[in-house]
């Protein structure tokens, strides 16, 4: 049942992307081949996701709005070119989201809920469940949440769990990644190059 729901969400996400693609053609040439899927091309070659349909409509009325930067110019800053799904609901205990690309959850993930992604995981809410980013082996994957209180974090083959007992909650967005063989959690700073610090294993991005 969950799987169906995810498929529906994924469809919705794809539809939206297609609508936007029509507005601005971009170079579908891709040198990073993390995802084999042909569909992954071009559709995800977009760096900024702030635009919505309403904004696109407003643009016609000569109101200056956010413009998309063509991918070529910011290629260095792209951390993932995998397909992404948006899940707009709360992931509750016993529910599991699995997707080979990135997963963005617009909601909370409760204890006992699992989000497993081949790519990165971003939760626009409180994360209290189990996250497995880079589940297909990508050690550069990250897990970010507005509030990160996971029972377990797994990135590729690395695993970490919450400390025992009561510990003070941090009410700030945080980001988890692998550094020197351990999973670390740090404060999320907009624009800060979390992804490329340490070993740059995905050299192909610069291609």
């Amino acid at each position: 049942m969950e799987q169906e729901a995810v498929d529906a969400v994924s469809l919705r996400a794809r539809k939206r992307k297609k609508g936007r693609r029509a507005k601005e053609q971009i170079d579908p040439q891709e040198d990073t081949a993390l995802v084999d899927s042909q569909e992954a091309k071009a559709e995800d070659d977009r760096s900024i996701t702030a635009g919505s349909t309403e904004r696109d409509n407003q643009e016609k009325d000569d109101i200056p709005v956010i413009r998309y930067t063509p991918v070529r110019q910011i290629r260095d800053d792209i951390i993932s070119q995998e397909q992404t799904i948006l899940v707009q609901r709360t992931i509750r205990s016993g529910q599991r989201i699995f997707y080979p690309g990135n997963v963005v959850v617009l909601g909370d993930v409760n204890p006992g809920g699992e989000v497993i992604a081949g790519g990165n995981i971003i939760v626009m809410g409180t994360f209290r469940g189990i996250a497995h980013a880079g589940a297909l082996g990508n050690e550069n994957a990250i897990i970010a949440a507005l509030q990160l209180e996971p029972s377990q974090l797994r990135i590729a083959g690395y695993i970490t769990r919450a400390p025992e007992g009561d510990y003070a909650s941090v009410y700030q967005p945080e980001i988890a990644r692998v550094q020197d063989g351990i999973v670390i959690i740090e404060k999320y700073q907009p624009g800060y190059d979390t992804y490329h610090r340490g070993d740059r294993k995905r050299g192909s991005i610069n291609g």
Binding site: S93, G94, Q95, R96, P111, G112, E114, S151, Q152, I159, R161, A162, E164
Partner: protein, 266 residues
């Protein structure tokens, strides 16, 4: 070679999981090697009650399907070295395993422990059949309520059909005051109706709620009345002869003050 106990009740919410956690912990306190198996696939709770939720990587379904070794899935308790938990899967349902797999699993585990306690899910369907498949003995938990006793009766019949003879009875959540005033079934009423051997009685105790939320079984709390009851039950399981707890002595400090002041006579 260990003994496999299934802890079951039929009705939900009577305290199967709490009982499993407490008896298991108490047996480990006595130095026995204990493995707790959560058979409530899809609605696991034993890990939370034991405070081991964060450590789950593999679960019972993974072991049953050969996706990992048993050793990888067993979680050692953080307080007792001889206490292990095999957690249930949360994202699957009861049909993810079958009684044969459960039986094989219990056979494998009991070679290396003294007591294997299986926490059975509520109900009498697949989950129940899985949980009892590998059991040598059964502990039936009930509360002094007509509905719970009726379900316990049904369960005892099903256990007999599964060739698990002589189940033991735990009567949980007894409120001495209500029994005294005749508002609650008393221990004798329940035993008379179910006609099985009584393993122990456990008073209703608010400390259970606190300890369950904290992930620390009540038997670790020397002041908890229910904890004491579970410690007694564990000693009975090991063959010791322990008299039933006297619940009438359970008056609190304020009760004593009131009595001394002559405000209440009971």
């Amino acid at each position: 070679m260990g003994e496999v106990f299934v802890i079951t009740s039929g009705k939900g919410g009577v305290g199967k999981t709490t009982t499993t956690a407490n008896i298991g912990t108490a047996l480990a306190m006595l130095g026995y090697r204990v493995v707790l198996v959560d058979a409530d696939i899809g609605l696991r709770n034993l890990d939370v009650v034991m405070g081991l939720e964060n450590r789950i990587v593999y679960d019972l379904v993974d072991v049953a399907h050969g996706r990992c070794r048993l050793r990888q899935a067993l979680i050692r308790d953080r307080r007792f070295e001889t206490l292990y938990l095999l957690p249930a899967a949360q994202t699957k349902d009861k049909n993810a395993i079958n009684p044969e797999q459960m039986k094989a699993l219990c056979e494998e585990i009991k070679k290396e422990c003294d007591y294997l306690l299986v926490d059975c899910p509520a109900g009498i369907e697949q989950g129940f059949r899985n949980a009892v498949a590998g059991a040598d003995r059964a502990i039936v938990v009930t509360t002094p309520e007509v509905a719970a006793v009726r379900d316990a009766d049904r369960i005892i019949g099903l256990l007999e059909a599964s060739e698990i003879r002589n189940p033991l009875l735990i009567i949980n959540r007894i409120r001495p005051k209500m029994v005294r005033t005749g508002d609650m079934l008393d221990v004798d009423d329940v035993i008379e109706h179910l006609a099985i051997e009584l393993l122990g009685i456990v008073p209703d105790d608010e400390s259970i709620i606190v300890s369950t939320n904290k992930g620390e079984p009540a038997v670790l709390n020397p002041h908890s009345k229910a904890g004491e009851a579970y410690r007694n039950i564990s000693r009975r399981i090991t063959g010791e002869d322990v008299p039933l707890m006297n619940l009438e002595n359970g008056e609190g400090f304020m009760d004593r003050v009131r009595r001394l002041l002559g405000l209440r006579t009971s």
